[in-house]
Amino acid sequence: MNAVFQSTIEFLKVFWAPLLCGLAVVAILPLIVGYIVLVERKIMADMQARLGPMRVGPHGLLQPIADAVKLLIKEDIIPDNADKLVFWLAPVLSVGAALLSLAGLAIGPAFQIAQDINIGILFVVGVSAMGIFGIVLGGWASNSHYSLMGALRSSAQLVSYETAAGMALVSALLFTGTLNIKSIVEAQSKEGIWFVMLAPVAFFTYLVASIAETNRAPFDLPEAESELVAGYMTEFSGFRWSLYFLAEYANMIVVASVATTLFLGGWLRPFASVRWLNFLDFIPALLMVAVGIYCVQRVPKQPTRVQQMFMLAVAGLCFVLGLALLAPVVVPAAKPFYAGIHGAFWFIFKVSLYIYFFMWLRFTIPRYRFDQLMRLGWHFLIPLSIVNVLLVGVALIAGAYFHLQGWGLLLVTTPAAVMALIVAFLILAIEKEHGARRDQTSAPDFYAG
């Protein structure tokens, strides 16, 4: 017993900081996800010329908390013929995988729970892919046709698009020669150019594949409400349902962070290596102050006293954040914190933009048919991403031959990207011809895959 106790102490001595950070992430993430949902509803409302949630708190700012309380006190229903153990396990698996993969991400040079893992990006991608078991087992355990169909669709979709996403990652990793997340960002700061410029086709492939992997519209076939009620989540209610929801949004954060790290320069400021653009450092603070002033302006329009106070509090928070972001630029004593604070700002900013793009697509593009989805994955994205890996490799060899670096690499990668685009159009042309012939001969197989 003594030995076990001793090794526990030994374990805690080394790992107390990551454990605390992990605990903090697990505690805070549901709140963040709740607010992402609120933002999504607000954006949806804006695009459809409505107001969205307005009742709970000023401009519906407390809506996520009300929703969370509602979900927690809802009756927990388990179907009679369900496999109880697996039914219990499935949502936990989903959310566990999503949360675990967050551990590998670096929000700034200082903020990373699992510091400097050699296999960083593989860890994040591999562990988050395990969430599929939650969906598949949940769909099976519900003992319902809709659930099973949703689960089958989901696993087919994920396996198909994983390949394309992996190939896109390989194209970007070719530039770094390392899997370590910090080294990947540092490589981009050394080159002075983000990999989205060097491998635009890979970024596009990853973007499409990541939407499909997170089961978001227009690829949300596993939970298509017009066909499958709610897919694999049909039989889940209350807290279990909210776990699935949490996993979906955590996965969105994960894919957005991977894209940010690999393609969008991680925590780097735009043009971080260009000296005369250093005034860009004031942008974060200015943004925060602008939001704060807007909030103060809205205060008189709030209907009740409580809501006015709340709005003022939000404005105050914005001003404090603005000060915190301004300090490292202006005060010399706070200079060491520059990388951490501004890094976190830019990282979260880019992740938010990526997620905003997801939402924008969701409210713009209608849902795909399942056989179209499979065809897009297997006949278009996978060949394109494989060809792109080859072209990027050739471009890199050419770049090394001519001793090109940084922006100079564009000289060789741009022709590679153009060639990949030509290949893409060729594939599309062939697909169109084939598709027309296939549609004439046979009816589409809706449950293909």
């Binding site: 496999d83 697996v86 591999g126 599929i132 099973l148 689960a151 089958l152 087919a156 994920l158």
Partner: protein, 172 residues
């Protein structure tokens, strides 16, 4: 000490879930226990500081092969499969093979140190902070020392892939 605790935890988990995987009647439960066994093996890899093997185990076996397993299990009609008596004819062959394997492993343990040149070589552990970067080492050995076997294996996989596509294609 910590290493030992972690090793016995993962090893015990792997063995227990492997046994459970064989004994469960429900195919999906078996699949879940197989996943647990594979994850526990990955844990042992991580405890040995083989990060790359750890993640490859998870991505390939858990994330790739097991997803396909579960996928196929759900497509098969389980009620029919459950009524059949399985593996009955292989019982004695399996017992013989298992005993032979256990005997060989036992001999390896017994002979280590007693017969020169036999048994397990005992390697000295490298200091934890002093390990070479994992994925780089694997890449160097794959693409420098073992390039030809690597290429042969790739060609084999390609052949299998093309074969699968040919077999799956509708005959029109």
């Amino acid at each position: 000490m910590l290493d030992k605790v972690l090793f016995y935890f993962f090893a015990g988990l792997a063995v227990a879930s492997a046994v459970l995987m064989v004994t469960r009647r429900n195919v999906v439960h078996s699949a879940i226990f197989l996943i647990t066994a594979l994850l526990a093996t990955a844990g042992i890899f991580l405890q040995l500081r083989a990060e790359f093997l750890f993640i490859v185990q998870i991505i390939l076996y858990v994330g790739g092969i097991m997803v396909l397993f579960v996928f196929v299990i759900m497509l098969v009609n389980l009620d029919v499969a459950l009524q059949q008596i399985q593996f009955a004819r292989q019982k004695w062959v399996a017992l013989f093979v298992a005993l032979a394997l256990a005997g060989q492993a036992g001999f390896m343990f017994w002979s280590s140190g007693k017969v020169p040149g036999q048994g397990f070589p005992v390697l000295t552990a490298a200091a934890a902070g002093n390990l070479p970067p994992n994925s780089e080492t694997v890449a160097h050995s794959l693409f420098e020392s073992y390039l030809l076997p690597f290429e042969i294996a790739s060609v084999l996989l390609l052949v299998a892939m093309i074969g699968a596509v040919v077999m799956a294609k509708k005959r029109t």
